[in-house]
Amino acid sequence: MSNSPPPSPMDTGSITYADYEVIGTGSPYALVAEFDSVAEVMRAAEKVRDAGYLLWDVHSPIPIHHINHAMGMRPTILPWITLAHGLAGLLFGLVLTWWMNATTVPGLSASVQGYQFLISGKPMYSLPANIPIIFETTVLFAAFGTILGLLGLNKLPMLYNPLSRSRRMLRSTVDRFLVVIEAEDKNFELPGTARLLQSLQPRAVELINEER
């Protein structure tokens, strides 16, 4: 990743120095800027993206249409996880039905041995009669893959997050929109990043520190 230039001094209007509330003590964890509407946070996200930040996020009560463009996010790999699990389910159903009703392996323990049913002289194994079960296992595995993939990629469950110390986070699931830039981002610096956030005209900017 090329080292993009640090954020240039913005046209900050009347704001000449970074003005923000501070929560906790110790080293900084993240800067939070609070916005009122989708349009404002979209515009802010584009500015933060163009300033070269990578470890940052927009917290919103709704999925915002096209925020992936405004944030510069790539499409998720989740569909491939679903596909892989679906194929695994397909294979599982195929082998399960075949093993259950169409195999006898000499010498194998009776408890895992297949059981060959002869039904009305029909073949021991034929694909059409087993399609329903194979279909259901495919869907079942794919659904589990999707959910587990979603939780895994999102790193959930995560029952504690330093951000949750900010009371502003409480409204990010109700009616407010937050831009959060993490201190670990290599472009993060104080007060430059705070000044950038101030220039986006948020309701407020807040610094969250690592310790209480």
């Binding site: 990743m1 709704i62 408890s111 869907v139 079942l140 659904a143 959910i147 979603l150």
Partner: protein
């Protein structure tokens, strides 16, 4: 319901503003004066994200309404009937049912098909309407999905008991065992185990996943410690991150795409239980589509039965608007017409087949000893829904409610007609018999409603009844386009290329 003159020149916005002080939001008929070119708002009244959140979250977090206790006590008494009848059955044996050698399926299978069918509307609303971009689904999808899960719970009880020795029901599952026996994978009854099992699991996952952001909203609004802990654990630490939302939306789309063929497969497989047999009246190729349409028909009737009182009692008329109710009534009418068509095709095929046993069954239905059940079915499922064609009926939600009640009754009788009239007189007149339910049959059927309503009331009280985040996405505030601030979605030209792409691993 008040009405306004059609010549009014007010825009819907002015209209809703002028009515802001009244507690009832204007209904669809006042907002959208018979003009199909105008799109009615999905959330009525002067609402923003805050007030919409309030109206839903307060139900879950606030004080329990007195009526809830009354409703809960009624459903708990019905539930106790289920517990008692099941206990009696387990202690005595399945002989306490009215099933006999001829009508060996009786009430358990009728009730199973009835309840599984009801579940289908929930998945239709949450998955198929999502894929079809029907945004009005957001107001009703959460509790339709909940209804699906509770209906499948009720359905599962009956075949579980019908196997006779319920404590050995796990034999249905394929697992290596000391008996050296495996289930028979070419039997529709085993397909049922997989289909209903998968359906219940996937519906539950879909429901819970969709609810996680709303549980986070409840967690963040809760004031009592136990609420914060309970919703906090259930919300899994959801914090509204846009990176999470992006994957969430993709997962939602994927699950909808998986659930759509799944829901069609479930009632198809249930119909295979009948259609793959050799019995006249069951051995029909039309059964899978006919059953699926019937399931959606009966399911929408149940969604209407639940949503019309709920929007009234919980004050959700601005979210579950008259338009939602009307749309559901229209789906009910459309699927009802498919079902009516399927009934007539069955009769046509019996005549066309020139097969005497098939013809006998289809004469025995309308004119035999169970003619009363057949004509109840026709009245409720074919004639009653025709009322929906009339605007006067659709303008009155309680008229729609009455039609939905007819359909609920009719769809139960449809399964009664299919199961009992086909079985009770088959090939050999010497084995003909009549079927009569015992008190255990009736008690168990009533009791299953107790289970259903108990679960549903618990859901209404403690969980977000309407999908809060999804409703917000169909409000004007969710769209930046309407806002005076204009911006370009594209990165500025001097953004480095790799930054425009973001992380490779998202």
């Amino acid at each position: 319901m008040s009405s306004i003159s059609l010549s009014s020149d007010e825009t819907p916005q002015e209209l809703s503003r002028s009515r802001q002080d009244t507690s009832d939001p204007p209904s669809q008929w006042e907002q959208q004066a018979y003009d199909p070119r105008e799109r009615a708002a999905l959330v009525l009244g002067e609402h923003d994200f805050t007030t919409v959140t309030d109206s839903i979250a307060d139900i879950a977090l606030g004080k329990t309404p007195t009526m809830w206790y009354v409703a809960m006590s009624v459903s708990l008494s019905l539930l106790s009937l289920l517990v008692v009848t099941i206990g009696y059955l387990l202690l005595t044996g399945v002989g306490v049912w009215g099933n006999n050698n001829t009508v060996s399926w009786g009430f358990p299978i009728i009730n199973f098909v009835f309840w599984v069918g009801i579940g289908h509307a929930g998945t239709l609303i949450s998955a198929i309407l999502f894929l079809l971009r029907q945004n009005w689904r957001t107001g009703i999808n959460r509790f339709a999905e909940a209804m699906t899960i509770f209906a499948v719970c009720c359905a599962g009880i009956f075949p579980g008991l019908h196997v006779g020795r319920v404590w050995l029901a796990y034999w249905l599952l394929p697992y290596p065992n000391e008996l050296a026996m495996w289930p028979q994978a070419r039997s529709p009854l085993l397909w049922d185990v997989f289909a209903v099992g998968t359906y219940a699991t996937v519906s539950l996952l879909f429901w819970y996943m969709g609810m996680v952001p709303d549980l986070a909203t409840l967690r963040d609004r809760a004031t009592k410690r136990w609420q914060q802990l309970l919703y906090g654990v259930l919300a899994l630490g959801w914090n509204g991150s846009s990176r999470h939302w992006m994957r969430f939306e993709k997962a939602y789309l994927l699950l909808a795409a998986l659930a759509t063929p799944l829901v069609l497969s479930v009632h198809s497989v249930v119909s295979f239980d009948f259609a793959t047999s050799q019995l006249p009246g069951w051995h029909t190729t039309i059964f899978p589509p006919y059953f699926v349409a019937g399931a959606v028909f009966g399911g929408f009737a149940m969604v209407l039965t639940l949503s019309i009182p709920c929007r009234e009692w919980f004050g959700l008329k601005h979210l579950i608007t008259h338009r939602h109710i009307e749309n559901m009534a229209k789906v009910m009418l459309a699927t009802g017409m498919i079902v009516s068509y399927a009934y007539s095709v069955e009769f046509f095929m019996a005549w066309y087949s020139q097969q005497p046993y098939e013809q006998f069954v289809f004469l025995n239905r309308p004119f035999g000893p169970y003619a009363w059940a057949f004509w109840t079915m026709v009245t409720c499922n074919v004639i009653a829904p025709q009322a929906i064609w009339f605007t006067a009926v659709r303008k009155n939600v309680w008229a729609i409610f009455i039609v939905a009640m007819f359909v609920n009754v009719g769809m139960w009788f449809e399964r009664f007609v299919i199961v009992v009239t086909s079985l009770h007189r088959d090939f050999l007149p010497s084995s003909w018999a009549m079927f009569a339910p015992t008190w255990v049959d009736l008690g168990m059927f009533l009791g299953s409603f107790g289970l259903f309503f108990t679960l549903f009331l618990l859901f209404c009280r403690f969980l977000p009844m309407v999908a809060i985040a999804e409703v917000k996405t169909v409000m004007p505030q969710a769209h930046a386009d309407d806002h005076p601030v204009k911006f370009d979605y594209q990165p500025s030209p001097d953004t480095p290329k790799e930054l425009r792409r973001g992380h490779w691993f998202t």
